[in-house]
């Protein structure tokens, strides 16, 4: 049985993950979720870890960024020691960046699906994950102009 880390945030990111989960065969998968709000992964797992968002939706300060970065680094290190993940799957937001980078350095598969709300611009997370992910999917064809090596997936 493979152990997979699903990373996603509240709101639209969670809505996309719910739809994605319905498309996947997860019978032989041990699901662990890394999220930015408690209980949003209850629809498919009880193994949930809550990280802190690196970017506030309303304002950002360097201090809050560094403090949350440090908290997340420790949490992810604990996750890496406790579990033997084969794959990371994320629908964003930026909370996936550090763990994805770390897991990629450890030779794991990293699957990222760029948000369905982008048509003509890149998300900050997408810009970074394009280089980190082993498999980078876009839901809107127009994004293939911006991400030429991306895989078009259709829309969730």
């Amino acid at each position: 049985m493979s152990e997979v880390l699903f990373i996603f945030g509240e709101g639209g990111h969670c809505a996309q993950m719910k739809r994605l989960a319905a498309e996947l065969s997860l019978e032989n998968t041990e699901i662990v979720a890394l999220v930015d709000k408690e209980n949003i992964s209850a629809f498919f797992t009880k193994k949930e870890y809550v990280t802190k968002s690196l970017r506030s939706k309303h304002n950002n300060t360097p201090l809050s960024y560094l403090s949350n970065f440090n908290f997340n680094l420790k949490l992810i290190s604990r996750l890496l020691m406790k579990h033997k993940f084969s794959t990371v799957v994320s629908t964003g937001p930026g909370i996936c960046l550090i763990p994805s980078l770390m897991f990629r350095l450890f030779g794991k598969k990293v699957v990222f699906i760029e948000t369905w709300s982008r048509f003509n611009t890149k998300s900050f997370t997408g810009k970074c994950m394009y280089y980190i992910a082993t498999h980078f999917y876009v839901q809107n064809k127009s994004l293939l102009m911006l991400y030429p090596k991306a895989i078009y997936s259709g829309r969730l």
Binding site: S2, V4, E10, G11, G12, C14, A15, Q16, R19, L20, E23, L24, S25, L26, N28, T29, R55, S56, K57, H58, N59, N60, S86, T87, V89, K109, V111, T115, W116, S117, R118, F119, N120, T121, S123, F124, H135, Y137, Q139, I151, S153, G154, R155, L156
Partner: protein, 151 residues
């Protein structure tokens, strides 16, 4: 006319305040979903979150932020709405999907409150129709399942 105003998970105080104080010759009855907003409506009902939002308000006209989760649900269920991108956010990504709605003639979109006021003023007599939403559904489920299950 009963109108649900929803902002999703991120507050959009200026929209809520604008509509709470909106004066019109036509009688609107707003119901506000305000998330963690600081502005508390004075003239109409409000609540912060409702997990069963669409189940509880499936027969009303909607004014919504341009979060994709809300927009796609409304489009897929043929619920009429006006989209207003939340430009109070640090990231301005809602303008991207707002442009998609507008250029594909899928819904009314108001980029400013002035536009929203004008749209509401003609709402009573509006017979505007929009194109049905069609999408190419997600088809990479098997591929990603294979990735996940192959060690």
């Amino acid at each position: 006319m009963k109108i649900l105003v929803t902002v999703g998970t991120t507050s959009f105080d200026t929209l809520i305040q604008f509509l709470d104080e909106f004066k019109s010759s036509y009688q609107f009855e707003f119901i506000f979903q305000i998330a963690d907003g600081e502005y508390i409506p004075k003239n109409y009902e409000y609540f912060r979150f409702d997990e069963e939002l669409w189940g509880n308000y499936n027969d009303v006209f909607v004014i919504t932020h341009c979060g994709a989760g809300s927009l796609y649900y409304l489009l897929e269920n043929n619920i009429k709405f006006i989209g207003v991108p939340n430009l109070e956010r640090v990231d301005q990504h809602q303008t991207d999907i707002a442009e998609f709605l507008r250029s594909n003639d899928l819904s009314s979109v108001c980029l400013t409150f002035e536009e929203l006021g004008q749209e509401l003023s003609v709402k009573k007599n509006s017979s505007a129709t929009y194109r049905p939403y069609k999408k190419e559904s997600f088809f990479k489920g098997n591929e990603i399942s294979h990735l996940i299950n192959s060690i």
